[in-house]
Subunit: 333 residues, 2 copies
DNA sequence: CTGCCGATGTGAAACGTTTCATTCGCTGGG
DNA sequence: CCCAGCGAATGAAACGTTTCACATCGGCAG
């Protein structure tokens, strides 16, 4: 493949001129510019990114580390991140940890070696910001940076849990089951905390009102499987708050199979607002998270830090979730 | 950040030795190796990928160009691709074209400049394999390479359409609506072709049996919107074959709102088998595509081509879809 | 004692850019 | 007629690796 020397030779100009045509066209006379451009097209010259990056000392690439690419939540996040990066001419390296700290560590190393301009990280349990001694700018995604030693973009999960709780309590439910995925995801803990607050606000004892129910994983199958446990709770709750929509979908399906009707027998509310949530026969109430915006905002923050090194101060963006009431939790008439 | 010179100096060895510790440890004496390794840890040396790639003349990175990251189908493909790449130590650059040929062209250029080792491409309409004059190995994803001038991994959409058609015809449906997204996606054309074949096999005239119905986009909303048109078809079909599950979900929802029951009034079958398809109140029949496998196989093919340049012959892997019959298309009892 | 070998280590060259201090060639003002 | 000044082009140096031809050294066979 042709390099810049070849182009220079064929166009009868020097190295520097070709480089200027590429990077500072205003410095080179129109005629020369055209000639060089023509030769470039002719020999199919494509600038070598590695050489450029080596010389420049920086890349136009950011890393995105997520827990599960197949999960619609992260998918939307990735979508937003890719869009924001693309608008500014950056490429995104996609890294999927599947919640494994080992893979996370591996990717952290690989990205550092690639000299990515920055990283967007949805951290696993193991991730400690001490990894931040690395000089690469990092934005924490979907996780609040408590130490504020880096930017972060997250959604207020406590507020979301509280909204869901207030909604159900207002409808008159006396006991509420909280179905959550593994507590290694801080999100599930925060949402429960919000729920507890909502209960406390009514002057009741959260421990008496809330029945926690753990699913083995955070997918629809596990959600469905936990309905059996739900049915056996003495003094069965009349409402279920599911820690995410996937769980809720499984629950709804399993409830129907048990002959229980939503919302007549059990009210149901999910979390996330995946785009199919509205499409169920009994449309699912849920707490909406701004997924795309999460990824988009995080990337903008990251790129600001990357480009404006000087005057950058770390910011914590916390989105407010939104209560979406649909059929599944409407008080039966 | 420390470089290899710094490490060499501190460890009291030469450049080459440090490099050997990194790349050919067997060539350096144990004691020296340990000393160098120790210094590396001490100064936090991280090898500069750009310099390495420049010297080597190759990267450990592949590009993945898809039409829509937010679509669960591509998401699964990306998941498979990332997994296969990661297993072999490659990183994946995620590129989302949103079906825009311009963005596609842009990414093709950007990836070429990055000197990716290879590309996985789900092409837009505009993509012509002439772009393949580029020397980078390419594997076509979800699209058969007719000219066979590169590898490809796809699913037999004609067969899938045929399966869906045979299934509906066997249930006794005399007229079938085919709801498809934009025909710029070759998939929709192939699936229709399969459906026509299935009809022809029964000795009937495809044009008399099949009523094509175009949705404005391939998402649930557009699917729902087209139900109005469906209802106005004279001599209304008793079955709908949706070109993908998203459309089907919208259709199912809209039908319910019109007071029509699935499958009693209308039988419904989708395409893709997104993982929520089984979870609807009326579980959706569909044609399953091996999505993860698609991405995984494509990446393996690509990496084989990348690493085994010599003895590589282009292969066309065509997966066979699978008919999944659930409630939505069962003959009412 | 000599010569040779293998194991180990060395450092210059090369990869393809970008940058920047210089040089070149003109023009117009004095 | 000279020279300051300007637009345009030049090309050497530097970025941080890997490679490879070569040097060094101790030991061992002859």
């Amino acid at each position: 493949m042709a390099n810049i020397h070849e182009v220079a030779k064929r166009a009868g100009v020097s190295l520097g001129t070709v480089s200027n045509v590429l990077n500072h066209p205003e410095l080179v006379a129109e005629a020369t510019r055209q000639r060089v451009l023509h030769v470039i097209g002719e020999v199919g010259f494509v600038r070598n990114g590695s050489a450029r990056q080596l010389r420049i000392g920086a890349t136009q690439t950011i890393g995105l580390i997520v827990l599960d690419v197949a999960n619609p939540f992260f998918t939307e996040v990735a979508h937003g991140a890719e869009a924001a990066a693309s608008e500014r001419g950056y490429l995104v390296i996609l890294c999927n940890t599947g919640n494994s700290p080992d893979k996370e560590a591996h990717y952290l190393d690989a990205l550092a070696e690639q000299r990515v301009a920055g990283m967007l990280i949805v951290p696993t349990v193991a991730y400690t910001p001490d990894s931040l001694r690395r000089e690469t700018p990092v934005v924490l995604l979907d996780r609040l940076s408590k130490e504020a030693n880096c930017c972060s973009v997250s959604v207020d999960d406590v507020a979301g849990g509280e909204m869901a709780g207030q909604h159900l309590l207002a409808a008159g439910h006396q006991r509420i089951a909280y179905l959550h995925g593994p507590f290694t995801n801080a999100q599930y803990i925060d949402r429960l905390e919000g729920l507890r607050r909502a209960v406390a606000q009514t002057g009741r004892d959260p421990n008496a009102v809330i029945v926690p129910l753990a699913a083995s994983a955070d997918n629809a199958q596990a959600g469905g499987a936990s309905v059996a446990a739900f049915c056996q709770i003495p003094d069965r709750p009349t409402a279920i708050f599911c820690g995410n929509d996937y769980l809720a979908v499984g629950v709804m399906h399993a409830l129907a199979q048990c002959g229980m009707s939503v919302p007549r027998d059990v009210a149901l509310i999910g979390y996330d607002d995946i785009d199919l949530a509205a499409m169920f026969s009994v449309p699912l109430s849920t707490i909406r998270q701004p997924k795309y915006e999460l990824g988009y905002a995080a990337t903008e923050l990251l790129l600001d830090e990357i480009t404006g090194k000087d005057a950058h101060t770390h910011r914590q963006i916390v989105f407010r979730p939104e209560l979406i009431v649909r059929e599944s939790s409407r008080t039966p008439v």
